[in-house]
């Protein structure tokens, strides 16, 4: 049951639910910039406090906000361990055969893991408080200028919004495929570079097959419901972005500015 809840829209009347979808998407993009600039403990503390506040404003429990991160726990640990043990450093803390534990490697691993976790939490909050139709309409609005040079903005918006929604699902399935390969004896965390890369290669074909199955099911469902391309869709009248959403955007811009300064 919980498995299906990852990133799924939860209807509600909270502050974030009522916020304009275009402002929410813009805020999401600003926050991604903030994550890119975050690289200090103080910066991460600011981001986590802000994420907790956003989760509260969205009426989501800590458990539900962290569920996607928790599910990807083994994968995140793997990334941390690989970065810690294989980072090329001139001053390793511990060295044995091909393994080299270094402070820089651990910092690099922690940075990657924390950034992925923050983006997962942010995209979870966005998709839980924004319906797929609203998200698509928001992307479409941001891509609107493309229409003036003859590009199909509606189609591109639809493809990008589906791509973003597919990421947590395919990540979970990839993790399951990885576990299945470990059960068959694959070694992802040890061996030479060539051996570790070779262990990853058998995962590529199953990942494509399972992803294309998902795509096939979704395309069939959309066609069965009469979807014939974004061009033929009707859209509700666009409203102006309200003051509350503007304030929220400003707050996100401030958080991003703080990350740049820190």
């Amino acid at each position: 049951m919980d498995r299906g809840m990852t990133g799924k829209y939860v209807p509600g009347e909270t502050l974030l639910h009522r916020m304009d979808e275009r402002a929410k998407l813009l805020a999401f993009l600003i926050m991604i910039c903030a994550v890119i600039f975050t690289d200090s403990p103080a910066g991460y503390a600011v981001m986590f406090v802000f994420m907790a506040a956003l989760g509260k404003a969205a009426g989501l429990s800590v458990n539900s906000v962290l569920s996607s991160v928790r599910r990807l726990g083994p994968f995140l640990i793997l990334i941390f361990v690989m970065n810690s043990l294989f980072y090329t450093s001139e001053d390793p803390i511990w060295h044995f055969l091909i393994f080299s534990l270094s402070r820089e490697g651990m910092i690099q691993g922690a940075n990657v893991v924390l950034r992925i976790a923050l983006v997962i939490v942010m995209s979870g909050i966005l998709t839980r408080t924004t319906s797929p139709m609203e998200l698509m309409s928001a992307i479409e609005s941001l891509l609107h200028p493309l229409r003036y040079i003859g590009l199909p903005a509606e189609e591109i918006a639809m493809i990008l919004s589906i791509a973003i929604q597919f990421i947590p699902t395919i990540l979970e399935e990839s993790d399951e495929i990885r576990k299945a390969q470990i059960a068959r004896g694959a070694r992802f965390e040890s061996g030479k570079l060539r051996e570790r890369a070779m262990a990853l290669l058998p995962m590529i074909v199953p990942i494509f097959i399972s992803s294309f199955k998902r795509a096939d099911e979704l395309a069939e469902a959309m066609e069965a419901r009469g979807y014939r391309g974004a061009k033929n869709r009707t859209a509700k009248e666009k409203k102006k972005i309200d003051l509350r959403s503007v304030v929220m955007l400003l707050v996100c811009a401030c958080v991003c500015a703080v990350q740049i300064v820190i």
Binding site: I36, R115, L160, A163, R196, S211, F212
Partner: protein, 189 residues
């Protein structure tokens, strides 16, 4: 591969864009893996081959952009030349797969892939030399980066892309390019 509806092509393109972010994640722990194994190239080639040049172009541009935004890889400094390279891969494979019909799926795939790989790498080198890192890029750097370092990635592309296409055809997730002899005989009867 011409029987797919535009809705299905759009969804497959979306999945390939998502895979442009997910596949490289598995290689992040290995030093310099992105430039050696080129995991992000595979979904773009598949998208161009399966869906056509328009979708390949979109996947080639938005795949690295989304991955850079979500995981910081590729770094922002390398993003424009990588987007140009992947966009060329998507466009060329899409166009060639439509134009070339030798009667053998393997021949069509390998001809399209070879030309696209060469064209993409040449365009990426040219964009670096004349636009993004003007004046500080040389032929030796291009050969080192796009030919020598990435040869394992090129080998992986030649081995895995046809394998993935055939696996998808066999699973009936994409249409057969040519009617099989046995099914043609059955249809004749």
């Amino acid at each position: 591969m011409s029987e797919m509806t535009s809705v299905k092509k759009s969804i497959i393109c979306a999945v390939c864009i998502a895979l442009c972010y997910i596949l490289p994640l598995f290689f992040h722990g290995i030093q310099n893996a992105g430039s050696i194994f080129c995991p992000m190239h595979i979904p773009v080639f598949i998208c161009g081959l399966v869906c056509g040049w328009q979708y390949g172009l979109l996947c080639g541009i938005s795949g690295p952009a989304i991955s850079s935004a979500l995981s910081g890889m590729p770094p922002v400094a390398l993003l424009p030349s990588m987007m140009a390279e992947l966009a060329v891969y998507g466009v060329i494979t899409g166009i060639l797969m439509k134009k070339i019909r030798t009667g053998s799926v393997y021949a069509d795939l390998y001809i399209s892939l070879t030309i696209a790989i060469i064209a993409g790498r040449v365009i990426a080198g040219l964009t670096r030399a004349f636009i993004f890192t003007k004046g500080s890029y040389s032929l030796a750097m291009w050969i080192g980066g796009y030919v020598v370092t990435s040869w394992p990635g090129t080998l992986i592309q030649f081995v895995f892309i046809p394998t993935i296409i055939f696996a998808l055809m066999r699973a009936h997730l994409i249409p057969e390019r040519y009617q099989r002899r046995d099914s043609a005989v059955q249809a004749g009867k």
